[in-house]
Symmetry: C2
Subunit: 313 residues, 2 copies
């Protein structure tokens, strides 16, 4: 941690949550501290939807998928025969979100995220981000990251942490913009994945997106993917829902190194959204919240702990 | 690149191969060079077996698997009913290596790499490395890395490259020792993988190795895994066999950035092994060698280009 008079977390209100974060990071990163964590082990894993940006009224990648679907229907009207496409068109989220892994939603993701080259997919995401705006806030989606969490990411890095996104969102979707938006390189994104294919096409290497071996990076999948992609246990974990409970457990329970788990609690219906047990989108938070006191996970109250939610537009 | 009078590649004989490597790395990393590659894009991918250490008379991980199998037979003698186990016991490599992805060998890997916790597996690998020695060279396996390649890895990093291993070997196997042996952290290892399971067992998080969703990181799988794990195209690629051809293509063909592909050619039967078209182990090199001149891939002749092969014991 660089010693400086400046407050690294100016958008956080002074109080126990801010003090606990600053205290932990100082304790594990300052030379001479008895609890210092070796640099190589300073691995932080942070969920994205609902932790770094909103997931209401829909996860933003679902908004992308619905917009892409509309665009696709212009040339492939027969897609409306698919019941999940019809559900998407009428905004029937209940149908799309049914099932443990949101199978209906994934069907729409499938129609809009496979069968094209990775290059074409990147361009579709960039085009969408440059034009689409959030229905409530009226800003581009990538202008809606939480300022307090951006400050936390920057402070983690200043304390020598390697910051990873570990999200149920698609790795290919996030990797288009994470470096620009969060300062996190694509190789530090662990997301849902399916296997691309490689071929030489007219003498040029081409990667094509498929749905084979779809891996949904949620719940127990998160520690599994952390092991597969990172290969060691994190010591800092942020999430906001029961989908993050397993990686909070993996980070903090019986870890031989000091560790901190943190839950962003959506309590601010005025500035953002208030939900936990009941969400019409993703992000249900019940079990992880129940487990938090026993584990010492820090529950951040958005309404009282954050002075600002979004940065200036 | 740090400007220094010291030779960063002292184990390489002066000649075209050494000059080409040093010239490329200077050209893409020196401030003010018109061909400088942005730091974030300096991604190097390097095969392991036959590129950083030998793969004769067997890939070293296969030697580990055979030794583990012997140990396992003490308590599970019924395993000898498996024809692939019998092939392993009599050293019948032809049977084990048959099939595009060495299915027989993978069966043995399966018996010795699944059904235990990741922690127990790590301990087995560490115990083996601390006791087993190579049948010809009489040294521990991890004392047999190629000194010229160790120097190249260090020089790549001095030039701002992030060095990744991209190997057909198991990620879990390599991650036990790569940091100590190559200075490469576990999160920069892309290898063959299967999915672990996560569970809370007696209140403690446990990862257990399985064979589900086995992914063999070889041939076309290499660019596929590079995309899945790293998410961008490398600009430097080293391999030694046809299993590396696809990642050499992916790195060097139609890449908008300057790139270099390098093939370690095993020509030194006296100090190491001489093989290309005919190998009794892995490492056949025919098609990639044919394609090298057209693509400008640099073929390193171990016998003439390397002053030393292994470091001091």
């Amino acid at each position: 941690m660089t010693s400086t008079a400046a407050d690294p977390l100016p958008s956080w209100r002074e109080g126990p949550a801010k003090a606990a974060i600053l205290g932990f990071l100082a304790r594990v990163s300052q030379e001479g501290s008895p609890d210092v964590i070796p640099l190589a082990d300073r691995i932080a894993v942070v969920d994205n939807d609902g932790t770094l940006w909103p997931e209401q009224p829909l996860p933003f990648q679902a908004a992308f998928a619905f917009d892409e679907l509309q665009r696709k229907l212009l040339t492939e009207p027969e897609l409306t025969e698919d019941p999940m496409v019809r559900a998407a068109l009428v905004g029937d989220l209940a149908t799309l979100m049914a099932g443990e892994h949101f199978e209906g939603l994934l069907r729409i993701v499938a129609l809009t995220h496979a069968g094209m080259t990775n290059h074409a997919f990147r361009e579709a995401v960039e085009t969408w981000l440059a034009s689409a705006t959030h229905p409530r806030f009226g800003r581009p989606y990538d202008a809606l990251t939480y300022r307090p969490m951006q400050e936390l990411l920057a402070h983690l890095r200043a304390c020598g942490f390697k910051t990873y996104i570990v999200s149920g969102g698609g790795a290919d979707f996030m990797r288009v913009w994470v470096e620009r938006v969060y300062g996190i390189p694509p190789e530090q994104v662990v997301g849902s994945t399916a296997r691309t294919t490689f071929q030489m096409r007219e003498g040029v290497p081409v990667l094509t997106k498929t749905l084979d071996f779809l891996f949904v990076n949620d719940r127990d999948g998160k520690p599994v993917a952390i092991h597969q992609f990172i290969g060691r246990r994190p010591v800092f974990c942020c999430g906001n829902s029961d989908g993050d409970q397993a990686m909070l457990q993996y980070t903090t329970i019986a870890n031989p190194l000091p560790s901190l788990g943190l839950i962003v609690h959506h309590t601010d219906g005025e500035r953002e959204y208030a939900y936990d047990a009941v969400s019409k989108s993703t992000g249900q938070l019940v079990k992880a919240l129940e487990e938090a006191p026993e584990r010492g996970w820090l529950v951040v109250d958005m309404q009282s702990d954050w002075l600002e939610v979004f940065g200036a537009s």
